[in-house]
Amino acid sequence: MKRRDFLKFIGVGGAGAGLGFIFGRAQKPPGAKLIPYLIPPEDIIPGAASWYATLCTECGAGCGVLVKIMEERAKKIEGNPLHPVNKGGLCSRGQAALQALYNPDRIKGPLKRRGARGSADFVEVSWDEALDVLGQKLGELKKTGFAEKLWFLTAPLSGHRLKLLTTFMSAHSSPNLVQYELFQHRELAYANQTTMGIEEIPHYDIANTNYMLSFGADFSGTWLSPVNFSRGYGEMRQGRHRKNRGRLVQIEPRLSLTGANADEWVPVRPGSEAILALSIAYTMVERGYYRGGDASAWRSLLSSYRPSEAALATDISAEKIEELSKKFAGSKPALAIAGDGALSYTSGVSCAAAVNILNHLAGSIGVKGGMLINSGGLLGKERIDFKKGIGSLLDAANSSKVDALILYNTNPLYTTPKAANAKESLNKIPFIVSLSGFIDETTAMADLVLPAHHPLEDWGDGFASPSVGYPVTTVMQPMVSPVNNTRGFGDIFLALASKMGGGVKERLKSDSFEDYLKSGWKELYNRNRGLSAGTLGFEDFWKKMLANGGWWREAEPKRQAAVSLKGAKQMLPSRPAVFEGNEKEYPFYLVLYPHHGFGDGRHANLPWMQELPDPMTSVTWGSCLEVNPKTASGLGIKEGDFVEVESPFGSITLQAYLYPGIRPDMVAVAIGQGHTHFGRYAKDRGVNPIDILPYKEDPRTGSVALNSTRVKLVHMGTGEKLAKTEGVTRELGRNIVQTITSEEFKKMGKEVI
């Protein structure tokens, strides 16, 4: 008995009546195990840490990270200082990737459904048995000639994992490989393709721009590549090499984290961002700030977006539009970007086109500080198949054209509105296989679960999109030996191919995905002289690449592009985005935005993310309805009161948060909470606002519109306290965050360094 426990027993605890209580409670902690290494593996020195480079797959940005390994356990993830996308920085979701690796709710091994579908009642099976079942099912499909009835739904993949998957699907002669994600930036890709004829998403050079118009782009939070853009934002403000400080104007109905840092906030009416952008463009042409040859053609094209009319639609005064366009044209290089906030309306893609037009008129396409055009990755261009969205899968399932569905890294039941009744469509599919590591809403419907490795345990590579002006490839290597009985994503298909034999087997001959990857890279190494420069053969190149975390070569982006009048013409919107539900019965717009810590809900099972206070509301472990204080007082709502938010398609009930940075005629809810499965940290916590949305898929891009309905608020009464970490957010004149005006800053002259 340790001395401290002894002291607890003998007296401090109080009279004998308490002693019984004490004896019952004090057990000793279980003995920790020592490291029984007779011959320690070569790089395990107890107490010493080593760092390995890999790819962060928590969001689409593809930053390079270093993982600190001590005694074969991953301890900390840090940004890879050499990697051009994040240069050493890392966002909070990247830091929390370890919690997904060591999550207690991870699936331990392959599972087979036992109970009814959707009951998540599985039984453990061995890998061979599971692969036999799948192999036999796929073989049967191929024999009966219905090979195309095999569908594969995955989050966007890149690099050799995508190559393996496409070869597997084509070997199985099924064209139905659907890459779909909630925030997949399909509108950007589509607009770039139609207006400028380029597929890749360009690199927005925020670091060198002087004036930025950001239409609903929360780029320091969750949009596209937050770490790269935050680094750019930092340079734009206080870059050492810059002459003057860049200005940021945020144009969005709800003040996002980026809006909070902006110099100006323009609270435009939801859905009318495109109209505002085009009226700014029109004023630029009208006032002669744009002296291009085809100015008259642009004027006639944009004639219906005069500031006077646009002011009514966008709720922004005409003088304001004049001032914005004057500044945007006046301070070269200027940059306009359109983020998820402005694009996820029913006709959201028009705002992306409008922003391209603005950049074109300001002459900032392909210019330093503007929009730099990316060239394709080493493995050629990745084309987004706009026809293949979630809608195509659901329609095929409804018309029973799907016999087998394989899911990887995607949760459609959570991310699609209830109005799409995706659950019924999936029910029509006889055989569903999920490769997910967690039992989330969709995996609960699966008949067979083949848990793939967590990316930190697996091989692979990724081509950053958007890249930084030149192609960047990052290699993913296993950091730790697998925590559970899971297999690599590639290894599953290679094993399946060898089991099914026939055509599939020749196409995928290598016995493990590592060899497949290495041989793939060997080909690239032999094909491109750029790779082989300065290396002594492939092995040396491979070692160097694993050490650096990937391969990239600095190059001045020289590709040019321009917005064609014809392309722009197709994309012009006639009126602001349409919202379901009539104005009188449903008075408020409902705007959804990705939660800072959960993205589209995939990180809700990480305790650090649940506990991270939301940057704008500091709410943790739950959801909150952001409502303007005046609207709230009008309805008698105080903070923490339960409010029922009802749309024509459903209703959710959550606590209210009085948020001054939101328009009075709208309310906002973060996407990410409200899971019904997905582990102990995410289950039955908060609400999922996507449930009450209409199912509005944009036929052109195949993405589901998130801001597409009006709602009404019903005050349900006072609930318990809102779990938030803030006290009073007024500064009360205490000069805690001291500020100086830009004139004072200019007068300060060059700072010391």
Binding site: R73, A74, K76, I77, G89, L90, C91, S92, G94, Q95, N103, P104, R106, S220, P226, V227, S230, R231, G234, R237, Q238, R245, L257, T258, A260, N261, D263, E264, W265, V266, P267, W608, E611, L612, P613, P615, S618, W621, N628, P629, K630, P660, G661, R663, P664, K721, A723, T725, T729, R730, E731, V737, Q738, T739, I740, T741, M748, E751, V752, I753
Partner: protein, 258 residues
């Protein structure tokens, strides 16, 4: 016997001067550029990962017992639509005249040779005086012995002790990284140069708002930044002499924004 008296007398003369202890080895300083900080809280999660900070759950957050050593404070002034939001990351300021150091009866917190305000976990008896005296409210207390569900505890790093209940804790400027950098410098027989030590928050900050270094080394980044005309220190009027220097944010007071 006279040996002891001679030692005490000699120390008596030396210790009478209040500034006796200016001769610290380093003056570790953190410079926070508020114009770069965009409130994205990457530093908060990095600190959780680096220093084995426990997750306390919704009910404890309701009782305002979050354990984060660095927090981003958000001050929102003005009504819609002229809303002005300001972020400021606040961590332990490692004051050189720290009100918490004089208050602790058992020396659980004192100013060590590194010039850091050190929190010694195993000496802490839990009288809460240091947390009450701290004007920045940056001290956190282990209200319970927090548990990590089974495989999550694999992530705990052995460099930082996991604290039991009844112990006060705060930002230590990643003292384990300072120690490791000093060991590396000693092995390579050189003195610490600027950039050897970078805490987890400064390393992970995407906008580069946090920079860390030794103020006593004139050509370090922090001493250059500390000469910037935008510098100010939090609650300077309390003369705790904090060693975190903030650089003012540039914000036009919104009169011409609409």
């Amino acid at each position: 016997m006279d040996g002891i008296f001679k030692r005490i007398l000699e120390r008596l003369r030396a210790y009478r001067v209040p500034g006796y202890y200016e001769k610290f080895d380093h003056k570790w300083t953190m410079v926070v550029d508020l114009d770069r900080c965009n409130g994205c809280e990457a530093c908060v999660t990095a600190c959780y990962a680096e220093n084995n900070i426990p997750v306390v759950g919704k009910e404890q957050i309701n009782n305002s017992r979050q354990m984060s050593w660095i927090r981003i404070e958000r001050y929102v002034d003005g009504e819609y639509p002229n809303v002005k939001v300001k972020f400021i990351p606040i961590m332990c300021q490692h004051c050189s005249k720290a009100p918490c150091e004089t208050a602790c009866p058992v020396y659980a917190t004192y100013h060590n040779q590194d010039g850091l305000n050190v929190q010694v976990y195993n000496r802490c008896v839990g009288t809460f005086t240091c947390a009450t005296y701290c004007p920045y409210d940056v001290r956190r207390f282990n209200w319970f012995t927090y548990k990590w569900d089974k495989p999550l505890d694999e992530q705990l790093t052995p460099d930082v002790t996991v604290r039991e209940m009844g112990v006060m804790e705060k930002c230590t400027f990643c003292i384990q990284r300072i120690r490791a950098a000093k060991d590396r410098a000693k092995d390579e027989e050189r003195t610490l140069k600027d950039g050897d030590v970078i805490p987890a928050c400064a390393q992970s900050c995407p906008t580069g708002a946090l920079s860390f270094g030794d103020l006593q080394d004139p050509n370090s980044m922090v001493s250059k930044l500390a000469k910037s005309p935008r510098r100010y220190r939090l609650l300077e009027e309390l003369n705790t002499e904090p060693s975190v220097i903030y650089l003012k944010r540039i914000m036009d007071n919104g009169d011409e924004s609409h």
